[in-house]
């Protein structure tokens, strides 16, 4: 029996099942947000969140992530464009009764106990999540009677997660939810987030940990300078970023799914390498050559045949990090 579980493995369990529903729960429609100081934070941004999906919003600092999230939470209004949450205004109390929010909070009232914080927020909702379920989901066992001010950074983060769950919301905004958590706590929060999605809840996540977006999200939306740069599954985003010829509408060519990065020390020139089958780029830094190829096996066969001295060979899948940097760099 355990063998059966083993076959799924840790890697497999990290890939969430795709949500079936296409029901839109939240949408930003051609939003422009200009602040009083003249800064344009969002520039014609549109995005949709569907029921039961985990969406990660990625972007460098100042890209407009938090502005987009604030608009959806009804804390700010757009200069132009339309924000709809559950087909209603995000500022309506009836909308807020169905959303949960976890923000980066520097300091919550310190002289209230964890239990009291949860109780206060549960009191705002008609059908809150049972107290015991919140404690379990947020991992608050054993710290319920501690004052917020006495908690470690990771524990505080978990209390804020518990507060976001208090109303048993259908749409949850999580701003950098796992900052300050150790690996174990982070994994356990990930599994909680996945089980929320499995229950049909929609989760919008902003994060700096690309690994987190990769492991958790059904869909990644990369934004930069107030615009959507690309969106798609983590695998699609990775290939778009590394191929160098992504398209913003999310249509990535399937040929690029086998994309690999080859690192080695070789005497072959860039000119030579680029002529090989599948090679999309070649770069030399120091003695090391970096090649991206959509047909790594064919490329390698030819390289090994032509260069007997080739050594220090490494082949790897592109990382989300590489894609992210490529997609948000100024060139694009």
């Amino acid at each position: 029996m355990s063998a059966v579980i083993d076959t799924t493995g840790p890697a497999a369990s990290q890939i969430p099942a795709k949500p079936q529903s296409h029901e839109t729960v939240a949408s930003l429609h051609s939003i422009t947000k200009r602040y009083a100081n003249g800064v344009t934070a969002l520039d014609g941004l549109s995005l949709n969140l569907r029921r039961g999906e985990i969406v990660a919003l990625l972007g460098p600092n100042g890209a407009g992530k938090s502005t987009a999230v604030k608009l959806m939470m009804g804390l700010s209004s757009p200069t132009s464009g339309n924000v709809r949450i559950f087909n209603a205004d995000p500022r309506e109390t009836t909308t807020r009764l169905r959303t949960g929010v976890m923000l980066q909070v520097g300091r919550a009232p310190e002289m209230l106990r964890v239990r009291e914080h949860i109780t206060i927020f549960r009191g705002y909702y008609p059908n809150p999540m049972p107290y015991a379920d919140i404690v379990k989901a947020a991992g608050l066992e054993g710290i319920e009677d501690r004052f917020f001010g006495e908690l470690s950074g990771g524990q505080k983060q978990r209390v804020l997660f518990g507060i976001a769950l208090a109303g048993d919301p259908d749409l949850i905004f999580l701003d950098e939810p796992t900052v300050g958590l150790d690996i174990e706590a982070r994994r356990s929060m990930w599994s909680q987030i996945r089980s929320l999605a499995a229950r049909g809840k929609t989760v919008l996540l902003t994060t700096h940990y690309l690994e987190e977006a990769d492991a958790l999200a059904h869909r990644i939306i990369v934004i930069n300078k107030g615009k959507v740069v690309c969106e798609g599954t983590p695998a699609e985003v990775k290939s778009m970023g590394t191929s160098g010829n992504f398209s913003a509408d999310g249509a990535s060519s399937t040929a690029q799914h086998g994309l690999k990065i080859i690192r080695c020390i070789t005497t072959l020139t860039a000119q030579h390498l680029l002529a090989m089958p599948g090679v999309t780029s070649s770069e030399t830094s120091g003695s090391l050559t970096l090649i991206t190829s959509t047909q790594p096996e064919a490329t390698l066969c030819e390289m090994l045949a032509l260069d007997q001295t080739l050594n220090s060979l490494e082949v790897q899948s592109p990382l989300l990090e590489d894609a992210f940097l490529a997609l948000t760099s100024d060139r694009n």
Binding site: Y35, A36, N37, K70, M73, G74, L75, S76, T93, T94, R96, L97, R98, T99, V101, L103, Q104, V105, G106, R107, A108, P109, E110, M111, L112, E116, T119, I120, F121, G123, Y124, Y125, P126, N127, F147, L160, I163, G167, D168, D170, F173, R199, G200
Partner: protein, 266 residues
Amino acid sequence: MSTATYTLPTAARPSSVRIFLTEIRYEVLRALRTRAFSLSAIGFPVMFYCLFGLLMNRNEDISAGVSVAKYLLGGYAVFGSLGAAIFGIGVGVALDRSAGWLELKQASPMPPLAYILSKCAMAVVFSLIIVSILTVLGITLGHVHLTVSEFAHIALFAAIGAIPFSCLGLAMAFLVPPASAGGIANMIYLPMSFLSGLWIPIRFLPHLLQTIAPIFPTYHLAQLMYGSLGAPMLGSTSSHWTGLLGFTLIMVGITWLAIRRSEQNS
């Protein structure tokens, strides 16, 4: 399981009254537990009253039948109210704002008024605690004779006075940079108390200062206190109520504008 939940929220929304009461209860509890705040908010007026009202008291009378100890009881009750509001709300809300806690509360379905009322209620509770302690000290150590009706009046005034002071605190919280809120609170607290004659009867202040005193809510509240304690009151009762009401409205207006401005920038 959750389909039923989706259709219900409007019908089964928790009563605002219950939310207000919970918010108030925990805000008072939080403030009392925060020793750095509760000890200084209560300790300052108590210490000042002990020094100037009791220790340095040579059993003189301010007017017929009103001893210095009794007169200053009114002044320091106002001083205590102002301190609780200006530090508890002016500084407290500024910190909530800068830490992002206020934003989290705003994003929740909590009625925004619940937050504001809980802060005002906290200031009212502290005002009542302070006026009670001062009264006990005055009676036991300062030979103050106080009728039940006199105490009821000063307690009521201290509680009502906490409201314009709370509005001042709110205006401050939304106007000043949070990092300097503490310093600015002191710059309002101490000069305003002195200039309103809370420490030294206003008639001993220079004439110019006497003429500007009516711009301060503390002046009006102190005059109402003195009047109810049997000491001579400058100006009419109605002028003081008008003064307090006017100040409250101005502060509410400033707060409203400041919130509007910060919303537009957010």
